[in-house]
Symmetry: C2
Subunit: 497 residues, 2 copies
């Protein structure tokens, strides 16, 4: 059938969509979400059908093309295209099997992940896969195969060295920037640390956002290889190198229902470690109110699964369960967190002691894991590397290799509009909730405005006098500051004992 | 935040969607599928957010509104609107509970169904509900509550009479138009039969499509009540009276993955029976290749569940398991099936005997169920009603009451373009597959062109001589005829033993 193109001037950002009028769809016996091959001048692409009921949207004889389809066919308004009915991708049949309770094998999982990466599945199909994985569960073999498929359908960095060290923290704790201390300590100790990090999704800053205050974090693969050879480590944004890209689309489906399917979460984390060829990994699992992992039992269960998956992938894993009950450090937001990191690396008097301690402990564990330090000597070695300035030196080399220049901490100025919350009475601070701090800092502008966020003058259980500052919010505009202050008040602020 | 409206000139036909540029979404900390309240001049509506990555689709400071949103706000291109963040509907939390394996109660199921009917759920949320019902299963109580909620969120016809008789066939068998014989037989016997039927979804004709050849099938509720008082029965399209409307949206999600979640199927059928106040119901479950129910075991299991659900809803149910291995009657497509029905009601020599027998048997069962005939005497009574012309008389009254006039069968002329398949050798016909017949008849134009379809000169196991006609395809255009003939050939045609 030949149809006239209507440019509907919309992009989905992922799957290709075309619109037909109900009348044409009936005549061709086509239904919502069927697939069509659309052809023009030797080019063709496969798109999913949506049906327009009104003539206004798409009249009979016409076909509405979303931007992705227009691009794929190099088509424009009023062009003629031909359509043909396409089969569903094979992976849809595999998803159906999973729905029906069957276990999926390597080939089936690979096909599903491939089609996710290539945007061939509709929201309904992808949701079905994610929900089936959640309600039916996935066994060890399936999780391992999913991990491999996710790694293999993305970029894979190969470095000709061993050991390759990695560190990961399950999210949920604002200000938890240990990675930016641990990586330079390990690099200073001679380890290879190709660290890929994420940007914030629902938090005020990811490690990638914070690192970006100091230097570029999106670098081409050949440049990364050069940095490993010359410096021994980097801290970049994983998204720029397209590691395990299936992950993003799965998260997009999980987000609206706040699902965190364990199998998919394990696979998504470990796929990224496999993609950089990690041989040793320290996994931090913070436990506390507002963190992803709710209690110690769940954390131990998760640690076990990480261990098993590591075994399958040939990655040696240790897990550390930490107290995630309140934010780490003082700064929340990219610039303020970067300032904490630099103060720590310079052993500055303003270095937040909780961040220092946690980073040293974790660095020590990794130094022991890879055999750089003897058993029980890791912490001491990390302490020495940090306080002699060797870690700071390594960080300067990393930052410069990535194309930046290490700033003096006092030159990092937060945004100008401020609001300071003062203690309403004398006493101890009962709690500073992760979720509240994250929400308020985001509304103030973090991570989009990197100089916005929160500075915590106090932590939980600190004794404060009435009228002393508890926290300061920084924002670029009065409007954003108001959003943040309103949310702080609405969410109850900081509670005193 | 104030934004300028862009009319994106697309309708979804269901959920309200707005588009924001990525930049604005980041600033407001909004994600794909979040909900927004959109306000203009005192009007407001809640819509789901989609994010546009390019300026071309929606530039920063603008908001793309789909037609449903424009209508709800009475807004047009370049108007100003205000937005606010809306909470997710409560039902999303209930769907999450079902995902997590909890059983849902009456209030929760009602809230979910209400939001489905009001188009408040996104594809991801609705798919999650449907898939959770499929993979986790639903217990008897949940299915019963779902049935009630589906009935209560739609129109409910109340007739002040008893018994109210209904008949239903699980689909999959082309030409199975027994309903149009059974209803007039029962009406002639003095029963009240408010029959609501469906249009074809994937078949060449539903009962509503076939009845529409004779008279209108979309009638207002007050007219229906009048017909029941004066004639005792009708056969209408259920879609026109909005019975259990949640069903359509659930089916839209099940279709792409060919899921037929048992609980939802039971609920969707029984909700419609509850909506018309049925007291007695005969349920036909055809079993055979290409039918919905694959084998006797499954049919018996289903019969048990229908019985239980009927008990909860206070509907007396009998089930008949029939041979669904091939089409019923000779005509396939609305007009050709209507012709079979009239021939049967007139005891015409061309009446297809399989259709006659099946209709008599089922009518007999219903007459016994409601006590119009003694035990074992139902068939005989139905036979008499049919062959004395009493059923034909009742059908004429029904057709006239609905605003039509009963035609003589010879005046029903099928479409002009024809293709006849002849036997390629002498022998017995091995099989006439339901799925092939349905597909070919649909491609010929049925049910959209009601006079198109297939006439079966032969059934399975009939003996034919080489060159004798096996079936004739009727279509309005050479193009549609070609589609149909191509599909017939591609699907292997009719196989001879």
């Amino acid at each position: 059938m030949n149809l006239i193109v209507k440019d509907v001037d919309i992009a989905t950002g992922d799957i290709q969509i075309v619109l037909l009028n109900q009348k044409d769809a009936n005549e061709l016996d086509l239904h919502h979400m069927d697939r069509l091959i659309v052809k023009k001048d030797g080019k063709k692409t496969t798109a999913v059908l949506d049906i327009a009921e009104s003539k206004k949207a798409v009249p009979p004889g016409h076909i509405g093309l979303f931007e992705e389809v227009l691009d794929a066919l190099n088509a424009k308004h009023n062009d003629k295209v031909e359509i043909e009915i396409a089969d569903k991708p094979e992976s849809v049949a595999y998803i159906k099997r999973k729905l029906d309770g069957e276990k999926l094998g390597s080939r089936e999982i690979k096909a599903i992940v491939q089609d996710i990466v290539e945007n061939k599945l509709t929201d309904i199909e992808l949701t079905s896969f994610v929900i089936a994985g959640y309600t039916r569960g996935m066994n060890r073999k399936e999780i391992a195969e999913l991990t491999k498929a996710m790694a293999e359908t993305g970029e894979q960095l190969k470095f000709d060295r061993k050991p390759i060290v990695d560190v990961h923290s399950i999210g949920g704790v604002p200000g938890n920037r240990t990675t930016m201390i641990i990586v330079p300590i390990l690099v200073a100790a001679g380890c290879t640390v190709p660290k890929t990090s994420s940007r914030a999704i629902t938090s005020p800053a990811g490690t990638a956002d914070t690192m970006e205050v100091l230097c570029p974090v999106s670098l081409p693969v050949d440049k990364l290889k050069k940095i490993i050879r010359e410096v021994g480590g980097f801290i970049i944004w994983g998204g720029a190198v397209n590691l395990a890209p299936a992950d993003d689309r799965i998260i997009r489906v999980e987000h609206p229902l706040s699902i965190d399917a364990e199998g998919q979460m394990l696979a998504s984390i470990m796929a990224k470690k496999a993609s950089v060829g990690a041989t040793h990994l320290l996994m931090e699992i913070p436990v506390g109110k507002g963190t992803k992992v709710k209690n110690h039992k769940q954390a131990k269960h998760l640690a076990l699964h990480f261990g098993e998956l590591g075994h399958f992938l040939n990655i040696k894993i240790k897990t550390i369960i930490t107290d995630g009950g309140q934010p780490v450090g003082r700064g929340i937001g990219p610039l303020l967190e970067a300032k904490d990191v630099i103060c720590t690396l310079k052993s500055h008097e303003h270095a937040p002691q909780d961040l220092v301690e946690k980073s040293l402990q974790m660095s020590g564990m990794l130094l022991e894991m890879v055999g750089r330090a003897g058993k029980g000597k890791g912490y001491q070695m990390a302490y020495k590397i940090l306080h002699t300035g060797a870690a700071y030196g390594a960080m300067c080399r990393i930052v410069e290799a990535q194309g930046g220049k290490m700033p003096a901490p006092e030159t990092l100025k937060p945004a100008k509009k401020t609001y300071t919350l003062h203690a309403e009475k004398t006493g101890k601070i009962k709690n500073i909730e992760n979720e509240m701090i994250a929400k308020v800092a985001r509304l103030a502008g973090a991570p989009v405005d990197p100089d916005s966020g929160i500075y915590l003058h106090q932590h939980c259980n600190c004794f404060v006098k009435k009228g002393e500052p508890v926290l300061t919010i920084y924002a670029r505009s009065s409007r954003k500051l108001k959003y943040a202050v309103d949310a702080l008040k609405k969410m109850g602020g900081v509670i005193m004992k």
